[in-house]
């Protein structure tokens, strides 16, 4: 088991999320930057369903009571084992009594801590992803205990530093499809929406990212309709709201754009004041 000495700012257990329960109003959830979570599992030889720890901005401090193989992906949060610096995307063998810590956030926002075999926690509606009140907890707290699934900690093949395409988290380009209500915008609005530079406001979390500045519009509300992670809603007051993994299943604001899956991953690595530009793809 692993003792959570410090929980960090906002640390949650995540996997692929809940599939097949949308008709009951259950959010999808799952790792915000799914690419990084999947990468972590791949590097360890886990299945893509294995649960990882998503940590946000300020990492936790974890004391291991068990031997295991571990990898960190996503944001660079200056990770260390027993205060000795380690690297992202590289598999390490953790020994009993080792402490994993983090320091300065150097790039991105969310990092993923994966262990061989995955973290063990309650499975609710096919997923371990934290989402209250489906799961008891909505985040880790100081003093919590984490459990690991049993696995053979074979090391041989994983020691190589993998040559990966590094994602540039500073790129402002967020790729989007046209949303269901895109055509209700005027020509000028369409080109403005897909060229203007927005920035992330202080309102951003696993449910949604709100952007500024306001985008003038006179679109009418729609009949409440389906939305997805990555749906960009435009409110009457001009707020652009990008829904993220924990978003509701339905909404009544016009859905002007839809992020690609990889754009959701990239936006998940952005924080307050980061710049973004929507780029239409097709």
């Amino acid at each position: 088991m692993i003792k959570v000495l410090k929980s960090g700012l906002f640390s949650t257990i995540q996997d692929k999320g809940r599939f097949g329960y949308g008709a009951f109003g259950v959010p999808k959830s799952g790792a915000m930057d799914f690419y990084s979570a999947e990468l972590a599992n791949t590097l360890l030889g886990n299945t893509i369903n294995d649960a990882v720890l998503e940590i946000t901005m300020i990492g936790p401090q974890l004391k291991f009571d068990v031997e295991c193989l571990l990898v960190i992906t996503g944001a660079d949060m200056s990770p260390s084992i027993n205060r000795k610096t380690i690297q992202n995307n590289k598999v390490y063998r953790i020994k009993k009594c080792d402490t994993l810590g983090f320091d300065k956030l150097k790039s991105g926002l969310r990092a993923y801590v994966a262990v061989k075999g995955g973290f063990k926690s309650d499975m609710v509606l096919g997923s371990q992803s934290y989402y209250q009140p489906l799961t008891l907890a909505n985040k880790l707290n100081n003093g919590d205990t984490l459990y690991l699934n049993q696995s053979e900690n074979t090391f041989d093949t994983y020691e190589t530093f993998s040559k990966l395409k590094v994602v540039d988290y500073s790129s402002p380009n967020i790729h989007v499809f046209k949303g269901p209500e895109f055509e209700r915008l005027s020509c000028n609005q369409k080109s403005e929406l897909t060229s203007l530079e927005s920035q992330v406001t202080n309102l951003y979390n696993r449910m949604a990212y709100q952007l500024s500045p306001l985008f003038d519009n006179d679109l009418e509300s729609i009949l409440t309709g389906p939305v997805l992670p990555g749906t960009v809603q435009l409110t009457p007051s001009g707020k652009l709201i990008v829904l993220m993994r924990d978003c509701q299943t339905t909404g009544g604001y016009p859905r002007v754009l839809q992020l690609t899956e990889s754009a959701i991953n990239l936006l998940s690595q952005k924080k307050e004041k980061d710049k973004i530009v929507f780029k239409l793809v097709e």
Binding site: F19, G20, Y21, G22, A23, F24, G25, V26, P27, V124, L125, P133, L134, F177, P180, I222, L223, T224, G225, P226, L228, G230, Q248, T249, T250, Q258, L259, T260, E261
Partner: protein, 241 residues
């Protein structure tokens, strides 16, 4: 009746199908017919199908390889579908206690709509409501059929802590909060029953197309139902017309 539907790609793994933008039961029945048809036809492919008033969203587990052949498949399926003999919907009896202890906004509601509290309660529990879909929160039912006399705009300042089971009115809608949540609706009562059970594979007893009838209960009845609910021995009751 066949509607002219609009098919669009929503993202890499989902398709949105839209009916004309109105709320009515004919549209809902056609939406639900097509939804059932989809669920029966996608056997090998894993999909999550959700509906709203006038839309169906098909979420595929995998990326859609060829969007146009998928559109064609869906259009053919819809075009060749037969109007299904509608299965008799269930009418679920939902006990609600309209006591002021729970209906904290009954007084202000009564003033704003110039009706007595007993009129509000009577108008609210009289109709048989139709469940259009479940959204907003796990187990939150979107109901159609609120009497016009009970329309009242949402509160300008939302209540940050609406209690689980709260029965509210917002605009032309009424509904039950399945969990504690912030909310802007006027709260007129509370239902002791669970609308979402996370440990069930089918977490909601009611589904889109079913009906709801509110049954006013006293505080004593409320408490005895709550006891049954809490000891997991309460089964929601469905009635026939």
């Amino acid at each position: 009746m066949k509607y002219k539907l609009k098919y669009t790609r929503f993202n890499e793994h989902s398709i949105l199908i839209e009916w004309p933008s109105i709320i009515d039961e004919n549209t809902l029945n056609d939406v639900l017919n097509f939804k059932n048809l989809l669920l029966n036809n996608y056997i090998k492919v894993k999909v999550d199908v959700i509906n709203t008033y006038n839309s169906i969203l098909i979420n595929y587990e995998l990326t859609i390889e060829d969007i146009y052949s998928e559109f064609l498949y869906l259009k053919t399926l819809y075009f060749n579908s037969e109007e299904q003999s509608s299965v008799k919907p269930k009418i679920w009896e939902v006990p609600v206690c309209y006591d002021e202890e729970f209906g904290m906004d009954l007084n202000s509601f009564s003033t704003e709509n110039s009706m007595s509290k007993s009129e509000i309660i009577q108008h609210h529990c009289q109709p048989i409501y139709t469940i259009y879909f479940i959204g907003f929160l796990p187990g939150f039912l979107y109901l159609g059929g609120l009497k016009e006399s009970l329309y009242l705009n949402r509160k300008s300042i939302p209540n940050l802590d609406v209690k689980k089971g709260a029965v509210g009115i917002g605009g032309n809608q009424t509904g039950i909060y399945p969990q504690n949540s912030p909310g802007g609706w006027h709260i007129i009562g509370n239902s002791p029953i669970n609308f979402f059970k996370k440990d069930n594979d089918n977490p909601c007893f009611a589904k889109a197309g079913d009906k709801i009838k509110f049954l006013p209960v006293s505080k004593e009845e409320y408490n005895s139902i709550l006891n049954l609910v809490e000891s997991n021995s309460y089964e929601p009751k469905s009635i026939s017309v």
